[in-house]
Amino acid sequence: MKNHSGRPKTVIFFIFLIGFLIGCPFFLPTYWTFIFGEILIMALFAMSFNLLLGYSGLLSFGQAGFFGVGAYVVALLILKGWQSLTLIMLAGTISAALAAAVIGYLCVRRDEIYFAMITLGFGMMLFTIAHNWIELTGGSDGLPLAVIPALKLPGFELSLFDPRIMYLFILFVVLAGIFFLWRLVRSPFGLILTAARENKERLAFVGADVRLVRLTAFTIAGGLAGLSGALFCLFNSMATPGFMHWSYSARPILMTILGGSGVFLGPAFGAVVFFLLEQVITNVTDNWMIFLGAILIPVVIFFPQGILGTLVKHFDR
């Protein structure tokens, strides 16, 4: 969690990176535009998860639940005929944050493995609701969307069925989400969060209500998971219970461990590695998870700070 913003080299690097990301759909084949879109969504999902793991020291195993709440709220509102994309996205995010506030209230009293197990339990409850409440959620078929409201900008409308427009829309929302997180972790609350990770007892004994600190972080992380779920619903033109399955909660965990939980962009980097591996390896074999495992194990053992974490440390010297 070092501060790189002050260095001109890093600023130039990020300007180029964002420029590259904007340019992607104009020189990449459509297939890769889709892959990059998905990576961006998962990057935001993983980074929202890391607000808990890396910054607050809480391992949540139920983030897919909030991801799914965002996705389903978006699908339901579109099916109801809502037209404003902004309102739909906002509703998805806020619903997920509310769900996280309620569930978090019941989770933040516990630590470590207990916290992980309780969040896993609640995540599975949300999955079961999505899977079994067929009248509302369509059950295991999910909610396919035949239409997606157009993106209304002053003077013209853009259809999100155009892969390039969809990609740029995702990029914009994800960058906004990441910028929000960036500001958050540098704020006074960010320091209090880190303090809760470092030593919750000392924090309580300088006057912070540790549960409230954690609940606030959990709610924000849930809201951002919901935002990424909302994007994913638009991206896939559907919401399915699969989004909420516990194995989906494992994705941000894997990405964060791959990239490194101690660096701000670690989880995003992990998302890139995760998807590129999937692409490269599935060309050879369908059992790509074996290879993911084979990479994950040495990362955990030899580079506990993750790939990006290790690189950043190396270049900092």
Binding site: F180, L184, F189, G190, E198, G207, D209
Partner: protein, 255 residues
Amino acid sequence: MTDVPILKIEHLGHSYGKFQVIDDISLAIPPGELTALIGPNGAGKTTFYNVVSGRFPPRRGKVFFAGREITGKPAHKIVSLGLLRSFQITNIFPELSVRENVLIPLLLQQRRGYTFLRPLKKEKDLYRKADDVLSKIGILDAADQPAGELAYGDKRLVEMAIVLARRPKLVLLDEPTAGMNPEETERMIRLIKELAERFGTTFFLTEHDMKVVFSIAKRIFVLYQGGLLATGTPEEIRANPQVREAYLGGGTIQC
């Protein structure tokens, strides 16, 4: 105002299962008085501090802080009233810089902990205050180092800085010089005396080192097998036959 004790304990008792750790302790400390709590190992000193500071609620009895009952309140509420503590085993934020260690209590004291999108760096007044506290304690030079990398004695000073940053009215110090070399001990004693005089902070400390106790405490409480055995000035305590009996099996208390 001086009539209201800064800390008043009534019939305080706590037990772990059937084991009575502290039993029926009553005491009062006037504001500004440097007080010590002594007693052999296992007398219940740390348990006493834990129930007073809100680490866990006592089984019996009441605790009043500056006239206000705080029995069983959560730690963070007690802290915001002005009662802070240090721990026997140094309790700091090891991976954060020394300055950040002090910024945390300052943010909380100013109720700015829930500021979300404004950069911390803009809280210039708090940075100034943090550096003030650090220079008072004498560790400003280490401000940018991770607190966990400092020498043992300096880590204890970081904890003092954390505690004092909130401008407490009463500080419970659980063996502030434990594990320190003579030089560090000397420095800590001077610091406590100076702070008590300059800021009127009341210190209530437990201590193993009798030299320390008799050199700074104006009043001493002796805890023995969970109960209060004696109260008095250092001279009275030194002369008390019961205390000698409890401590050294009849010998003298050396200092």
